[in-house]
């Protein structure tokens, strides 16, 4: 019996000198995988314009019906996004979201991306609905050039076969 106790303590002693497998959350955060699907972000282009064009395809793809998009027309003088259309309202209900990533797949402009943030807790249900302000990345955190297909605002009639990039 004594032997069994020492055997157990031996195991304890052995693990004492190993690197622990637990992390001291929340002081220490565990890194996630590259393709981890966490909280969404609405991305911008490098020039600060919103990538989201309000097409609602994410909402259509969403199996949990978690996304609401209300589109509106861009003011050509001060466009929010490239092209004619932008999302006036963009909301995701995080309690509904199942983090399947279909919205990301459906997005034609790579605007909605499931990022690595996984600390999602709310004091009430209302605050689980993330609005466009919550989801948008800061204006200086944009990336990428606007593809020519979206550069439609200041287009002039071009002669046939002229490349318009």
């Amino acid at each position: 019996m004594i032997g069994t106790i020492f055997k157990g303590l031996g195991t304890t002693l052995r693990y004492l000198f190993r690197k622990p497998v637990t992390v001291e959350y929340p002081e220490v955060k565990r890194p996630v995988r590259e393709r981890f699907r966490g909280r969404h972000q609405l991305k911008r282009f490098a020039n600060g314009m919103e990538r989201c064009i309000g097409c609602s395809l994410c909402a259509a793809a969403c199996p949990a019906d978690a996304i609401l998009v209300v589109p509106a027309e861009n003011d050509p003088a001060a466009p929010v996004s490239p092209g004619e259309r932008y999302a006036a309202r963009y909301e995701i209900n995080m309690l509904r979201c199942i983090f399947c990533g279909y919205c990301e797949d459906a997005c034609p402009t790579n605007a909605i991306v499931l990022e690595h943030q996984y600390e999602l807790s709310f004091y009430d249900r209302r605050s689980s609905i993330l609005t466009k302000e919550d989801l948008l990345v800061p204006p200086d955190k944009g990336h990428g050039e606007i593809p020519p297909i979206l550069q439609q605002l200041n287009r002039r009639p071009s002669p046939p076969a002229q490349i318009d990039l």
Binding site: C55, P148, Q152
Partner: protein
């Protein structure tokens, strides 16, 4: 037409000769893809999407016989040795069509690849995305990749305005010309055209103001891509997010079937719903863009009670209690006849029925009307209930063999869809005669135009009658069986000749004679009369009735008389009995009510959904003389500002009900959203008042008995066993009211919501899968086509008396040499136009004058004119019309027009002079 049998993809199909291959395939259930072809338009073969292999039996040139091959079957040859466009190739016997061979697939793929070379592929932001034929057919038939350089697409400036309402995105356009052909052939407003050529080929608007058509919205429906989109639905929502609710357009007597496409209780767009009996697949812009008022922030939200000079918000209980108390007080000290009710002819049947029930059975007052009582308002003379159009009438099937008389009507303004329907009849070979004192857009239709002097239209009708009698064109059999008074009529017309009558009307005799001949000889005859005919009076209407009777064009489908009475549901108002002649005891008309109110004989009124003060500022004085006025409306109208209690009601989107259209078709509309601001439907308001009255001890009577037998006014049924429940006023839903209407109102027996919901398919003879024609844009009608109510004439035993008589000539007056006529305008700027994209198109008050008259008077276009009649005068801008007859002045009946200040009746004698005073303005 003989039938032709052919084989399509191995399926044998028999179709009428002359059918094109696309339609024939459709009948066999085979979808040949199309872009430019549309079953409502003539084929042009522009898009080449419908290319198919057409094999025909080889003919031996020597014997003209089919060559028989070794296997004993005819030798087939490929027509022209290449693929043929199915939409412009007619079927022939023995033909074999193959739509799925490699060669066809290759052509379809190639065609789509070419179409997509210039297409911007901006489907994510395109309003058509989700219901786009180009999207769908590309998925179904197109190549998955393109060999063309993506960067080499042609680009145009993104959308340009084709008009106030329609945007054109030239990049997306595939130049199918559906919109151009619709405007040219169907709408009769040839305002669109092609410009430039090659890769800069584009659609342009040729009119000023641009895209000046009342049917422009339809082009966005038939556009097979997202090139044409409406300003109204631009980036509002994606189409798959919409919840379409079947509804009926509440703007005119046509009763177009529409669907209110809602998203989360917000109206996103209005789309037509297919109903071949009413609107085919079209609606006018007033219906499509004139529905924004339902979400106007100016809508009334809660009851208002007058406290001193102001209307202060109150609860429903307070308002209803006050109304009951006051009405009982008035009834006690002044009698029931001191109470009167006006209900708008735009209200649904349920509202009108309970409104009149409240008055006739609870308050026991016969004073009910649906007119405003303005001085120029014509008396409503209705042939719809007596002659009407035969049950089963379908104008969209009529063509050769049909003769239509359009008398004193401007269908484009009064009931726009009738323009399309009448043009359709003319295009299919029907005969059209237009009798109107001034030119209208309908004149562009191939038709016989008779332009009588204003007020003398009756003489044209009499000349037609006289021609029938002289040339023995009457339907003798019908006349002997069902018409009385023919000999008396002959006697009355004895001293007049066709020439003298035409002369009195100022109409050419030969045209009148040919019109009479065409109308009498036609298999089907229809008479449509409108507002100008009503203004002309009973002499004209009676003569028109006799015209239909003598030619036997009554009591059969596709025959009869269609009165266009102002209001979406004037027909229903007449049938429900919201007019003074409906009951046993004759009540006061609206005009008599104003007089009675001024004299103190009328003390209390309920006005539902109507704004008489707007048209007739003099009514305000009468309203102020009342002891108590209740106004029930969706806006705080000018009339409502004079009220003691204002009750808000739900709009057409927030409740359900039925409307009866000009052809007496009862159609149901569904509730599209929860009632705005929790407002009750109009019928419920009447019910709440009735319940409060009964709770205070008022004893309702049994239903009113048979009408006084005056033909048209005999609408309230004799029927019925008053059911115990109907006294209780316990209607929970609109359907309960509809059930009672079906049980008690004459002719409405078949109009319960159950019978109204029956859908009859197929609606227009084409196949089950009509989606390929319309493709994404759905016109599907899931709500049924409505139930048409038989008129008296549909009863084969009903007989009619001829009443036509020769009236005295409309008196001339040298002091007032011009005739003033109020002209109806669709875009009248009234309550429905709130928040609408049509606002820039609203007609402002003006006077239309003949060019020579204007020159003689020294009036320049746009200059101010002063007009004076015996009762008053007004100043307003002038517009010159070269085609208007001399001596006639038209004043559009629009918001703010000073009609009531000068009119002495529907036709007013006026003097006109150039206005030289410095003071500018119409008031």
């Amino acid at each position: 037409m003989p039938n032709v049998t052919l084989v399509i993809d191995g399926q044998t199909v028999t179709v009428p000769a002359g059918t094109n291959i696309v339609d024939a395939a459709r009948i066999a259930g085979i979808a040949i893809p199309v872009f430019c072809y549309h079953p409502k338009l003539k084929p042009v073969g522009m898009c080449r999407m419908c290319l198919v292999e057409v094999w025909t039996p080889k003919i031996d040139p020597a014997t003209r016989q089919a060559v028989i091959g070794e296997d004993g079957r005819p030798v087939m040859t490929l027509m022209m040795g290449k693929l043929q466009p199915g939409c412009v190739t007619s079927v022939s016997d023995g033909m074999e069509v193959r739509t799925t061979t490699d060669r066809v697939r290759f052509a379809q793929k190639g065609q789509l690849e070419f179409l997509l070379t210039s297409h911007p592929l901006d489907c994510p932001v395109c309003d058509k995305g989700g219901e786009c034929p180009l999207q769908n057919l590309t998925m179904q038939f197109g190549p998955s990749t393109s060999r063309f350089d993506y960067a080499d697409k042609i680009h145009f400036e993104k959308p340009i305005r084709l008009g106030d309402l329609i945007y054109l995105d030239r990049e997306r356009c595939i130049l199918c010309s559906r919109c151009v052909r619709f405007q040219d052939d169907i709408a009769g407003d040839p305002v669109l055209g092609f410009d430039n050529r090659g890769r800069t080929w584009e659609i342009i608007s040729k009119s000023d103001p641009p895209f000046d058509s009342k049917f422009s919205g339809n082009t966005t429906d038939i556009c097979p891509v997202g090139a044409l989109t409406t300003a109204d639905f631009r980036f509002k929502a994606r189409v798959w997010e919409l919840r379409p609710t079947p509804s009926i357009c509440p703007h005119c007597p046509v009763g177009c079937n529409i669907s209110l496409d809602m998203r989360y209780d917000r109206l996103m767009r209005v789309m037509p719903r297919e109903n071949d009996y009413v609107n085919e697949i079209w609606i006018c812009d007033k219906g499509r863009f004139g529905m924004r008022f339902i979400e106007s922030p100016e809508r009334l939200r809660q009851p208002l009670i007058r406290k001193g000079d102001t209307l202060t918000p109150a609860t429903w209980d307070e308002a209803i209690a006050l109304i009951a108390e006051k009405l009982i007080a008035i009834r006690t000290h002044a009698g029931a006849a001191a109470l009167g009710g006006l209900a708008s002819p735009d209200l649904p049947n349920e509202d009108l029925y309970l409104f009149q029930k409240l008055f006739r059975q609870v308050l026991r007052s016969p004073n009910l009307d649906f007119c405003t009582g303005a001085p120029g308002e014509p008396a409503i003379i209705d042939l719809g209930a007596t002659l009407g159009v035969g049950k089963g009438t379908n104008l969209s099937n009529l063509g050769a063999g049909t003769s239509v008389l359009v008398v004193g009507a401007d269908p484009e303004e009064e009931a726009p869809l009738y323009v399309l329907r009448l043009r359709g009849i003319a295009a299919r070979g029907g005969d059209l005669t237009i009798i109107n004192p001034y030119p209208t857009k309908l004149d562009r239709t191939p038709a016989r135009v008779i332009r009588p002097r204003a007020g003398a239209e009756a003489f044209v009708a009499l000349a037609l009658l006289k021609t029938l009698i002289e040339e023995e064109l009457i339907a003798a059999d019908f006349v002997t069986r069902r018409v009385q008074g023919f000999d008396e009529l002959k006697m009355r017309l004895r001293n007049h000749s066709v020439a003298s009558l035409c002369d009195a009307a100022g109409a050419p005799e030969d045209v009148v004679r040919s019109a009479a001949y065409a109308f009498a000889k036609a298999d089907n005859g229809i008479i449509i009369y409108g507002r100008v005919a009503l203004a002309s009076g009973a002499d004209l209407i009676d003569a028109l009735a006799d015209l239909a009777l003598l030619t036997g064009h009554v009591g059969r489908p596709n025959n009869g008389v269609i009165p266009l009475i102002p209001g979406a549901n004037a027909r229903g108002a007449l049938d429900m009995g919201v007019h003074p002649g409906a009951g046993k005891k004759r009540g006061l008309t609206a005009r008599e009510m104003w007089a009675a109110a001024r004299e103190g004989r009328l003390r209390g009124m309920i006005i539902a959904g109507m704004d008489p003060v707007r048209d007739n500022p003099a009514a305000a004085e009468a309203l102020d003389a009342l002891e108590f006025l209740v106004v029930q409306d969706i806006f705080l109208t000018e009339t409502a500002q004079h009220a003691d209690v204002v009750l808000p009601t739900a709009s057409i989107a927030g409740r359900e009900g039925t409307l009866t259209n000009a052809e007496r078709r009862v159609q149901r509309f569904r509730q599209a959203r929860i009632p705005e601001f929790n407002t009750p439907a109009g019928w419920d308001v009447a019910q709440r008042i009735a319940r409060a009255l009964i709770a205070l001890g008022v004893k309702p009577t049994a239903p009113d008995g048979q009408g006084d037998g005056r033909g048209a006014s005999r609408t309230l049924a004799k029927t019925a066993a008053t059911t115990a429940s109907s006294d209780q006023w316990d209607y929970a839903v609109a359907g309960d009211v509809a059930d009672e209407i079906a049980a008690t109102v004459h002719g409405y027996a078949d109009t319960t919501y159950e019978s109204l919901g029956l859908t009859r398919k197929p609606q227009w003879g084409r196949q089950p899968n009509e989606a390929i024609f319309y493709d994404g844009t759905s016109y599907e009608n899931t709500e049924g086509v409505g139930v048409q109510i038989a008129a008296e004439a549909d009863n084969p035993k009903a007989t009619f008396t001829l009443r036509a008589r020769v009236p005295p000539l409309f008196a001339t007056n040298d002091a007032y040499p011009y005739t003033l006529l109020a002209a109806p305008r669709a875009y009248d700027g009234r309550a429905w136009s709130r928040d609408s994209k049509l606002l820039p198109r609203m007609v402002t008050p003006h006077l239309i004058l003949n060019a020579d008259d204007a020159t003689a008077l020294g009036i320049a276009p746009g200059g101010l004119v002063q007009i004076a009649s015996e009762v008053g005068c007004a100043v307003l801008p002038a517009q010159i019309d070269r085609n208007l007859p001399r001596g006639l002045a038209l004043m559009p009946d629009v918001d703010g027009a000073p009609l009531s200040r000068v009119q002495t009746g529907p036709l007013t004698r006026i003097a006109i002079m150039a206005h030289i005073s410095e003071t500018v303005g119409t008031r």
